[in-house]
């Protein structure tokens, strides 16, 4: 049983929950940008939550099935079609041998997750099937899907058609999107006024927005506090002695355009960071289209942990409903 890639869509990659443990060598965790969406898709088709599925950006692939399978599409509203017949998002449906899965145009969000019963069974690299294209690791030969690829599938459990994730349990960013941020790291390098303005102003997702990071534009450049450049840092006020970058950290090269690092983050570098998007809101970033209005909302550790617990409760509710 396999899936033939007839057309890959704009940018479709194999992703699972990533490969932790190699960030100290510059190899990022990777995996689905919207992890909750991939978990839901996997649960819908009876897979392990960590199974590998497809992450499709803006447009969907065209896939031909050589055998029977159960499929679910979650995340972005990218409506699936089976032999041309519209199917529901966030719901599992049966696909028969020879049928073709394609997609209508994007209605909302940025990344759709396609889970297939059995999970995609390409070889693991450093413990994960996730595609890290910069390092040519995972996926199919370390790259995004191409027409003509054949995706092997693992062993499926049957009987998972007709399941749905209720609307109230689907998580998607609002408009304007709100990303909660824990200030810190090199926050002390900017003036108090500048810091307040960063949170007060509205930003817009720039064209440079991918698995490595999301760039934002439209706010006022940051005001730095004067200093002697530390030895080794470089002369720009936004330079630091090259250090590690947390996932979700917000660096602002030159003080102008904030970049939030995501799953395929560069592991370190020489730009200062003013804080970090909390873990609960990382999934939302994966669903932001360019030009989306975005507010950064200041929170504290208490708020971050409460939001994380809230997300965990939602996931548990999905698990319960789909296990019935």
């Amino acid at each position: 049983m396999a899936v033939n890639v007839l057309s890959p869509g704009l940018l479709t990659t194999i992703q699972d929950m990533g490969r932790p443990g190699y960030y100290h060598l510059g190899i990022p965790i990777g995996g689905a940008m919207d992890r909750m969406a991939l978990r839901c898709a996997n649960l819908l088709v009876g897979n392990d939550e960590n199974a590998a599925g497809l992450e499709a950006v803006f447009t969907g692939p065209e896939l031909e099935f050589t055998g029977e399978a159960t499929v679910a599409v979650t995340g972005a509203e990218l409506p699936p079609k089976l032999d041309g017949t519209p199917m529901e998002c966030w719901a599992s449906f049966k696909v028969k041998a020879g049928q073709i899965l394609s997609f209508d145009y994007l209605r909302a969000g940025a990344r759709a997750y396609i889970a297939i019963s059995g999970g995609i069974d390409t070889p693991k690299a450093l413990g994960s099937r996730s595609t890290y294209a910069i390092g040519a690791l995972g996926g199919v030969d370390g790259r995004a899907l191409q027409a003509g690829d054949v995706l092997p599938l693992g062993v499926a459990t049957a009987g998972n058609e007709g399941k749905t994730v209720p609307k109230e349990l689907r998580i998607s960013p609002g408009n304007p999107a709100e990303l909660r941020v824990l200030p810190g790291l090199y926050w002390h390098r900017i003036t108090e006024d500048s810091g307040e303005r960063f949170f007060a102003e509205s930003w817009k997702v720039a064209g440079e927005a991918d698995r490595m990071g999301y760039r934002f534009q439209g706010g006022t450049p940051l005001e730095f506090i004067d200093r002697e450049p530390p030895f080794g840092a470089g002369s720009d006020p936004s330079n630091i002695t090259d250090a590690c970058y947390p996932y979700g950290s917000i660096q602002v090269p030159g003080g102008t355009e904030p970049i939030v690092l995501h799953r395929d983050a560069v592991s370190g570098g020489g730009y200062f960071m003013i804080g970090t998007v909390i873990s609960a809101d990382m999934d939302l970033i994966g669903q932001l289209q360019p030009h989306t209005q975005t507010r950064f909302v200041k929170t504290d550790m208490h708020g971050a942990l409460a939001a994380r617990a809230d997300r965990a409760r939602t996931l548990n509710a999905v698990r319960e409903i789909l296990s019935m």
Binding site: Y23, A233, C244, G248, S249, V266
Partner: protein, 291 residues
């Protein structure tokens, strides 16, 4: 040196050992991260040492951020007194300075550079007070370098020049980063040299290229069969200038599975190094070149 602790969201603790780069800061960061690894704290998932700082990633469902922060501060107190002695290796890395490929690339991005009328290496030589590029290459390749961080992208080493501060080369990064850098470019930014392990964006000045792969996800390169990343923090590097012929030969040797980097086990003591920099370096090079 007083370390500065900060949370990076709810999953990271970021510790800046020193704002300035120095081998003292690197060794302190290394000894703390080693102690954190030995402590095997539940919930810690990634331990990343950097040049003069480090980062711990953790699962806040398993260990409370405040508890982990307190534990790290306790570990710092004991680790601080560890001897700065490292069992490591010195590796000779061939470099084809002023090669045609980085030259073609730097010409494409001239408008992003401080001095559009010169090449990256001409600019670096001039602002560091060298009258010729050859003298600059002699300085860059004359003394050993210390791998003080691995990262940015897969397996990329940051290298710190093992000379006293007045002699250290410093070069600013490009005004705006390039969108392209040839694979295995030997670069420079701030006080660090680097080797771009993969092709991609970059802001460091480009001086040359090495024929020696340092990252191989397919693990076909002879010396990368055990693990796909070559460098680790604490490695010592000696650049060896080579010309086109030697470069082509080395590339052919890599392809044929014949290339093995020249490499020797050495012990490095920070105290000994600080007492006599040139003497320590001479001993390291002796170890590299001896039989």
């Amino acid at each position: 040196m007083t370390s500065r602790y900060s949370f990076g969201g709810d999953e990271h603790i970021f510790v800046e050992v020193s704002e300035d780069m120095s081998l003292e800061a690197f060794f302190k960061s290394l000894s703390i991260t080693n102690a954190v690894r030995d402590a095997a704290i539940k919930g810690v998932t990634e331990i990343c040492p950097a040049n003069a700082s480090f980062q711990i990633k953790f699962d806040p469902d398993i260990v409370h951020p405040d508890d982990l922060m307190a534990e790290l501060k306790r570990i710092e107190e004991t680790a601080e007194h560890a001897d700065a002695i490292l069992e490591t290796r010195i590796i000779e890395i061939p470099v084809y300075y002023q090669d045609p490929w980085t030259n073609e690339t730097l010409m494409r991005f001239r408008e992003r550079h401080q001095d559009p009328d010169s090449t990256d290496i001409e600019y670096a030589a001039e602002i560091n007070g060298f009258s010729t590029v050859d003298e600059f290459i002699e300085a860059h390749s004359g003394s050993p370098w210390f791998v003080s961080m691995v990262g940015f992208v897969a397996g990329l080493p940051f290298l710190y020049q093992m000379v006293d501060r007045p002699r250290q080369i410093q070069v600013p990064k490009y005004l705006r980063p390039r969108t392209d850098t040839p694979k295995l470019t030997v670069g420079y930014g701030g006080c660090f040299s680097c080797i771009y392990s993969v092709r991609g964006a970059g802001g460091y000045q480009m001086f040359g290229i090495t024929p020696m792969p340092i990252y191989d996800p397919a693990q076909e390169v002879t010396y990368l069969k055990d693990f796909m990343v070559f460098f680790k923090p604490g490695d010592i590097v000696k650049w060896k200038p080579i010309g086109r012929e030697e470069y082509d030969q080395a590339v052919a040797d890599v392809e044929a599975g014949r290339f093995m980097p020249r490499m020797k086990e050495v012990t490095f003591s920070l105290e000994e190094f600080n007492r006599d920099i040139d003497g320590t370096n001479a001993k390291l090079l002796e170890a590299l070149n001896g039989c």
